[in-house]
Symmetry: C2
Subunit: 672 residues, 2 copies
């Protein structure tokens, strides 16, 4: 736990849970933070911001009007930017992409600007774009001003009629060599930029992605630095129509906007020219390697895995603590109502999610390491790892965002009616987490990209070509169910490998057969795509299981921690296998008897892990401000906190509301 006063109060139910922790919680905290130094830094950052009362909301944002919510979050976002400069270490930390992402992301960031930070796209997209795609000259011109907050930018790619399919974008940037300017236009309503965070009212600049035309030829989508608002008056520029897209399921203060251009001119030097250029006369110079921009996508997707995982930690911490405090019904007639965490059905909801946290974490760590290797390789001139990293990050982005979203929702529902209350914070955690299923590559699109890679690899394998590491198992021989099976963790990973390999192979043949019957490849692909997407998910699931077992066995842990992690890993494996039992039975990799045995063991694991449930979530070390939950607070004083929160409702400031006099009384006295 965080440095705490020795005898911090908590309710007796939680005292009991915490009395007998038999593993080193700090070791798990460090694992999740990425090292003891990172834990210390995070705690310092939390203390730095949370001790500043400026970040408190006057009332819960849910009580405010849409305009007031935006103003309130903008106030805190601006204060945060100033405050960063008050501390050298924190300023330095914020000075790189990873650090800044944390400050505006799912951890401390989400605790400060709960419903979305209108400045976050400036830091996590606009600045990285300048760094990654701007020339030295462009960086000199823009970067300093952007860091200083003199200009605030956003990143405008998605259009109202065009999402994932980059080539479909309609916004045009046509070069006019006479004035050496690009003319920006939105040729139709579907070309309107739609969704960029910070675009509506906050940003005065944007990187705009548009179809580049020069000398009458379209050269595809390129990025341009575009001024949207006057730097003095903040009024939108003539030729620029910009505004807000309206309320959303969540993240209502991200200030998502729309943007249209009408013959809006920007100087030639505003095209991001690190990779391709337009010369003064309009000559287009194409990039040497058009895959280099994939790097940023990989970074963003791994960051999404980490953010999603943080959200799941929040939800499962809240639900687990609440389940230890909540008493309900009876297990044994006549005895007092038990903690609901004693019900197996409740354990089954929460413990596999606790196990998931580590699975996603280990898999993301692996992708991150491979990405760093790739970055080094690229500087040495090799992009060989790129497809592998790209596909791993696509798959893991989809798996982690969908697993954590459904996991958060399971946690919310596991808290019964109270999970529906805003003060539990589970509604907001859900609405924020589920957004990741869609943004930065919609999950179905991600699965189909992974599937393409799997099918391509099958084809290459059948032609005797070597496969990259993550898919090399596709050539494995299936394991029969009827031999004397090794059901150890390592054995189950082998089982997973064989089963997925068979599944991919069956669907590769199915696709092949469609083509053999004369169907055009693309149509055959579409006809098989549901099953192919399922293959991609199974492949990624296998990857997570493999990483889980490897990390639990190979990293350095004390005995107590390794024992807990082994139990969690086993729970994860068995839970996934029983959930997808059809896959294993169909491929003959497990028999019905095996599944029954594993089901029995699953039930035992739930009972085994139950006593440590609270201690494990405690070791996620989530500050009460990060949890922001009446149900999940460290002290477990749930009902008192719910009441205190309720009493803050503006409707509770008077006994009889105005609306009674205005609407209800006339009805009640009207003698209908």
């Amino acid at each position: 736990m965080a440095p705490l006063p020795e005898k911090r109060f908590c309710v007796p139910d939680l005292q009991k849970e915490r009395a007998n922790c038999n593993f080193d919680q700090e070791e798990i905290t460090n694992l999740i933070d990425g090292g003891a130094d990172q834990t210390a830094l995070r705690r310092k950052i939390e203390h730095f911001f949370f001790s500043d009362k400026e970040f408190l909301d006057p009332v819960r944002p849910e009580y405010m009007s849409h305009e007031d919510r935006y103003a309130n979050e903008l106030r805190k976002a601006c204060h945060m930017m100033r405050k960063i400069n008050e501390d050298d270490e924190i300023q330095q930390f914020a000075g790189n992409m990873e650090g800044m992402r944390m400050l505006v992301g799912a951890g401390v960031g989400a605790a400060l600007c709960k419903d979305g930070n209108p400045l976050s796209v400036h830091f996590v997209m606009f600045l990285p774009c300048l760094v990654g795609q701007g020339t030295i000259d462009q960086q000199a011109e823009w970067l300093g001003r952007a860091w200083a907050g003199e200009i605030i930018g956003t990143y405008a790619q998605t259009e109202i009629g065009h999402g994932t399919f980059l080539r479909g974008l309609q916004t045009t940037a046509t070069y006019d060599p006479d004035t050496q300017e690009f003319i920006l236009n939105s040729p139709s309503i579907t070309a309107s930029k739609w969704w960029p965070g910070g675009l509506a009212k906050t940003a005065n600049y944007a990187v705009v992605m548009a179809q580049l035309y020069t000398k009458g030829v379209c050269h595809g989508v390129h990025g341009f630095i575009v001024q949207l608002r006057d730097e003095e008056t903040h009024k939108s520029m003539p030729g620029v129509m910009v505004g807000e897209i309206g309320p959303r399921l969540g993240l209502n203060t991200n200030d998502n906007g729309f943007l249209m251009f009408k013959n809006y001119r920007i100087p030639r030097k505003n095209m991001l020219m690190k990779f391709s250029q337009v010369l003064e006369d309009g000559t287009y110079i194409r990039p040497k390697n058009d895959k280099l921009t994939y790097g940023t996508m990989v970074f963003v997707r791994v960051a999404i895995c980490h953010d999603s995982c943080r959200q799941l930690q929040r939800a499962v911490t809240i639900a687990t603590r609440y389940s230890a405090v909540r008493h309900q019904s009876e297990l044994i007639p006549g005895e007092p109502e038990p903690q609901i965490l004693d019900y197996q059905t409740q354990q089954y909801k929460l413990l596999p999610l606790i196990a998931s946290v580590f699975g996603i974490q280990f898999a993301a760590m692996h992708v991150w390491k491979t990405y760093q290797q790739l970055t080094e390789d690229i500087e040495a001139g090799s992009t060989a790892l790129l497809p592998e990293v790209h596909i791993l990050s696509c798959g893991l982005k989809a798996l982690s965002s969908s697993d954590t979203s459904s996991g958060v929702e399971i946690c919310r529902l596991a808290c019964g009616g109270h999970g529906y209350l805003a003060s539990s914070n589970l509604p907001r955690i859900y609405t924020n987490t589920t957004a990741a299923i869609t943004y930065e590559g919609e999950n179905t699109v991600m699965w189909l990209q992974v599937a393409r890679y799997l099918i391509k690899s099958c084809r290459e394998a059948s032609q005797g070509q070597p496969l990259t590491k993550s898919v090399s198992y596709l050539t494995a021989n299936p394991v029969s169910a009827h031999e004397n099976k090794d059901l150890s963790n390592a054995g189950l990973v082998e089982v997973f490998k064989s089963a997925v390999s068979s599944m991919v192979s069956e669907n590769y043949k199915r696709l092949q057969q469609c083509c053999d019957e004369g169907e055009q490849y693309e149509l055959a692909w579409n006809r098989c795509s549901v099953l192919l997407a399922q293959c991609a998910e199974a492949h990624t699931r296998y990857f997570v299981c493999e990483q889980y077992v490897q990390n639990v066995e190979n990293l350095e842990f004390s005995d107590g921690v390794r024992s807990i992690l082994r139990q969690l890993c086993r729970l994860y494996l068995i839970h996934q296998i029983t959930l997808n039992q059809g896959l294993f039975l169909r491929t003959g990799t497990l028999s019905s008897a095996h599944i029954s045995t594993l089901e029995g063991e699953l039930c035992e694991l739930l009972a085994l892990l139950r006593p440590n449930a609270v201690n494990i979530v405690d070791s996620f070390d989530l500050h009460d401000r990060v949890l922001d939950s009446t149900l999940g607070c460290w002290d477990g004083d749930v009902y008192q906190r719910m009441f205190e929160e309720a009493l803050k409702s503006p409707l509770n400031q008077t006994d009889v509301p105005e609306a009674y006099h205005k609407y209800l009384r006339p009805l009640m006295k009207s003698n209908l």
Copy 2:
């Protein structure tokens, strides 16, 4: 379709979809409404209310503060109550429980009071309680005043520390024979009533469920009519502490409240005394049959199935129409971007949900008929059907609320980023639908009740006792996979029956074995409860499949409609079987080859149903006001509507927001 001008405008993509409908849409509309007369009445009601501008919101509720939202919904709720009396037929319709439920429920009700009607509990709980549990004298005293709106009531059962477990309620009502009054008390914070809709600021009366004490003995939970607020001033009564519980994931204008008592006295005659009584001297008369109140629970649960199903219809109509209008990416290189409904992965998301609508509808129709039979039987003195109806309604409530919630979310995600926009209405449909998983019997609790009935039935069967209809199949002999299998719809229902029967039997044995090993029954039950809950779900799924096939084959339909319903029914069956393939493979009721064959057929069914997708959702006949969606409107003019909605945002009424001057400008000019 509803009575429309002949050539109503719609976008070309939808014109194309609608050009070749080959079945009678009105027939499906009538099926869903419950008859042509019901369709006519519903359309009349919609026209009656929707043509009244008083029901329009000045701005979207999401833009308003919490207080303004409540006032706005209360305004409309009151207007609705008045307006009902303007039309004789509608007044008559509203005069019974079913009719009133529709007026405040998921159809027209949800379109009028979008975020929850603060008067709804008055009509769907308070009034039925008076009717069902009040004596003739009590009805004479209260019912007329309640119908006239002179008093507004709610139903206060759930406490902050006590949910489903009725016996755990802590509120006490202690009889004082000296004054012939009950003294109400909330002995601790966990005894506070928490959640009742309309309780916070709207209701001045409530039916309060409390532990009845008389002559020093506790007689369990009973209902009492309690005045909460003064009828003249609306101020809360001395001894009554009442207020609002704070914002929620959705339904923010339901006016959910808390309620505590401190020595609050009510007259003896305020106890609901139809079934049990307290005499003047304090003598307690127990009820003759304590199961009679189950009837109301069955009614409410079937109503939830219908409401949930209506919500799924809304979501899938929106997502299907949008998928016909939205173009994205490419199927065949070089060709224009196709409608996303042409992607198999999109069809796989939506078409099984369209199929679900009918499955849930048919199953709910059956439970409703059995319930009506029960009501007749009870008047004739027999309660034999009660356990059967009770269990069917528990299972179907859980299945329909969880299927429709996840289904609505699939629809939302199938609309990509735009599904996250409030103006799509999918966020609200989800937040409202998911509440049904928890209220009126939390789903896990429901599944375990069904499981208890299954295990009890297994035990009775093993003792040679006869089983009730819905579980009689538990004695069926398993069907082997290897015979020449009948994979027709009827054949698949048989397969389902055998598989579930085997599954229940295996887990009955598992439970038995735990007991044989010496474990106490209740603990053994808990140890097996995850798997037992899965049995309950499989059992209920089988019931839905059976009802689906029976109704499609046995009801009267034209050829075109029956053909469509058969395809949908088959899609539902195959989808459910492939989703749960482990069950069939484990029990040997289907082989791997069967599953592969069915997967192939599933893909063909998607292609077969694709051309009618829009026509089928059109036949749900949901008024644009009921859909309330920029993405789902009948004309498909999606992008134009999204823009128009966005422009209404209060933030878009000025170019530069006040918050810029207050917070952003100082930051940008500060030279950080």
